[in-house]
Amino acid sequence: MTTAIDSGSFGGCSIELEDVRKAFGATHALDGVSLSVEPGTFLVLLGPSGSGKTTMLRGLAGVERFDSGTVRLGSRVVSDGRRHLPPERRGLAMVFQDYALWPHLTVFENVAYALKRHHLDGREARSRTMETLDRVSMAEKAANYPQELSGGQQQRVALARAIVARPSLLLFDEPLSNLDADLREQLRVEIATLARESGATAVYITHDQSEAFALADVVGVLRRGRLEQIGPPEQIYAHPATPFVARFTGLSGSMRGVVDRDLAAGVVEVRVGDHLLTASARGALRPGTAVDVLVRPSATRLMHPLHDDGRDGPSGHGRGRTDPASPEPNRIHGRIVDVAYRGRGYEHVVRTPYGDLTGVFSNTARARGTDWHLAIDSAGCLAFPIANAEI
């Protein structure tokens, strides 16, 4: 029998995917994905539903079979279209979205089950199991059955089951999606620390960009079965490769405009209606090019109210007006149409002549129906040529 990859040892395995494809009938779930991950990396695959992330994870686990393409875990080819190493021989572990704990086994037995492949002697298996349960604060519940635990406790047990055998690859299938906000954050921290302590390579899938950025060393953004961009979270956020990546990683809104001039160093000035906005150019943009300006929430700031006379105070008309009070670049105006308290402050929805901007933050609440000057930081403004701009 073939041994599992690096089984029993600490440390992760590298992952290499070459042109991996998988179709379900006429639907291409994965349409030629290639990527390479260093050992010990925490990779988060981010994408909306239907993007292929679950198929990718299940294919890595071996419970799904890729149609073609090569998958290497460490030095070993586990799938190449003809060969398919079954999941039990890949030496990995997985945390499932629905926990997938076995209801006829106690918490202890669920975790110990994953150790059986190593044929440890009873005492060692017991101590390793209890040690791992202790690590996830579930030692006291060792004798309980899964159905006697809360959702958060069940997911802790699933986490213990995944790490107890010290696999070289840990897979996470949206493990936090069934939990409430508080538990999500607690478990997120545990997953991040436990995965890194173990040294295993981790692949985690989610559709939540904040979860992805909080956990990942590397984020891969998937869309319609293709990998749109892969890189560190900071790079993905600051330099999204496509409008889709920009939108999926958090936008306040977008506006249509035309490049006015090239300011060099990848920055352009874009005319949006009567306003000028400086923006980071995504691609080669020449003056006259039609662009979509995508605005990050962090780039927006409410400045001061706009008056009836066009200078200060509330206005009866928010839409379609030029803003003589702010002729300088990166200033527009708009009307507050909604305000939401977020604990640390307030997020506003501002209706501008060029579309709505959401998530506009302020420490104080601004009244609905009032008109405001709005500053837009050029660092959070991304100009994409319109040909590439559609979602």
Partner: protein, 565 residues
Amino acid sequence: MSRGSAFLVFWLLIVAILVVPILLFLAVAFSPALLAQGPEWFTLSAFAQALDGQLLVAFLDSTVVGVVTAVLSAAIAFWLAWVVMRTDLVGRRIWTGVAFALLLTPSYLIALGWERLLEPNGVLELIGIPADGARSVMYGPVGIVVVLTVKGIPFAFLAISNTLRGLGHEFEDAVRVHGGGRVAALRIVVALLSPGVWAALAIVFAESISDFGVASTLANDSHFLVATYSLYMAVDSFPVHFPVAAAISWVLLVLIVLALLAQNAALKGRSFRVLSGRSKPVLSQRLSPAVTAITWLCFLVFLLLALGVPAFGAVSASLIDGLGSLAGTHQWDLSNYLRVLSSPQLGDPLVYSAILAAITATAGVALAVACARVLAARGSTLPGRVLDFILLAAVALPGIVFAAGYIFAYNLPLWSALHLQIYGTTTLLLLAYLATALPSTTRVLVGTMSQIQESMLEASRVHGRGPLRAWLSIVIPVIARPLLSAWLLTFAATLLELPVSQLLSPPGSQPVSVGIEAALAKYDYGGGTAMEVLAVLFALVVVGIGFGAFRLFAPAGWRAIGRTR
């Protein structure tokens, strides 16, 4: 065995035990020459015979009995289900137990219990109670409807209580908070329950018109013609009228299909699924002491008629020496039981049936797990749809049609030529038992199989188990309790099965139901009923041992699943 060859073996078995016998048999109605049953390649003469004279009367009788039985069963079951699911009546769980006891009791045993009590020189007359009046009522359509209603109630109860279980209290609450009164709320509840009620009507109608147990006992003895007994006579006479029997089967099938169509039309595509899901548990209605007393009184009357009278009839008859014959002392003693236990003619059938029932239950459950897995597969697969259709058709077919199909299909000269002659052997009887049990056993397990999260199996694979070990270590323990229930249900049903046994038992070996009938036919009422009582007791003991052993010896985790779900 590879996945492909296992798949092939599975489908060959399904085709051999279900598809071929039924299709060949039904084809003979149109084309006797096709299988050497007459000169015509296409004719409707068998239908002309089936729908003429006495046979037509039999169909009309069956239809009327079916409709009346369905309505009565659904009404009584609705009341039972409401009390069990919606009130806090003390001891209401006993009612569910009674429903299951009725499910396990074949209709011929219920009918025989009534007969032993009411027949001339029966138990009542022997103890000095005149039975003429009751006999004239029960020996005829009324008695047949009573027995079939008793037998139909558990089916209707299951259909209606399943719907009630899924019906949360929020629907009534929604009516009340939006200004509707109690009556408006009740109307909504009744409308929401209509899928269950219609399912109950359709199931009981189908069960009633395809019933053979009452047809061969009470109906036959009271000369009330029904369709299933006419079918039996066509197959069991000399010369055998296969085309006529097949035509009768077609008409029975059409009646059942009409019932299902009526159910569909009444529901306009609504299904149970609408009602299940996230419904909140309901609050039990609190019953006053007076209402509790009246409800229990009604239940006791029902219990008396459903189980008490036939059980008393059977038990008391079995304790009267020489009942039915002029010989014997007609004293109350245990001589009939001693005779059954010492005489091979009476005792052997029980042993023979027990062995066959155990084999059928084991093979049936194994095959039903495979079928249920195909049916429960995610998405709608072609094999799933085909199998679903075959099993549905098999549920709709009376057991007597199965048996006739088996006689026909496995008595063809082709089998002798192939040296595969299994007609007249225990093997054929076993295959027919298996085919009869498979549809219902599969239905019992399909709900359980579809509740198994695929991820539990995947988690086992990912954490180091191969496919077989993953199944044995995860799926089998999780479904252990439903598997045991399915095994015991199949065992009890096969042990006491009548129509297939009647037509297919091999020469020299009698199943217990045939043994009972044979003893009764020889006017050995005491011996026959003693056998009957012993067979039922044996089934109950096996069921008790099965559940008791599970409770005592199954690992705690296996038991924990049923308890906490």
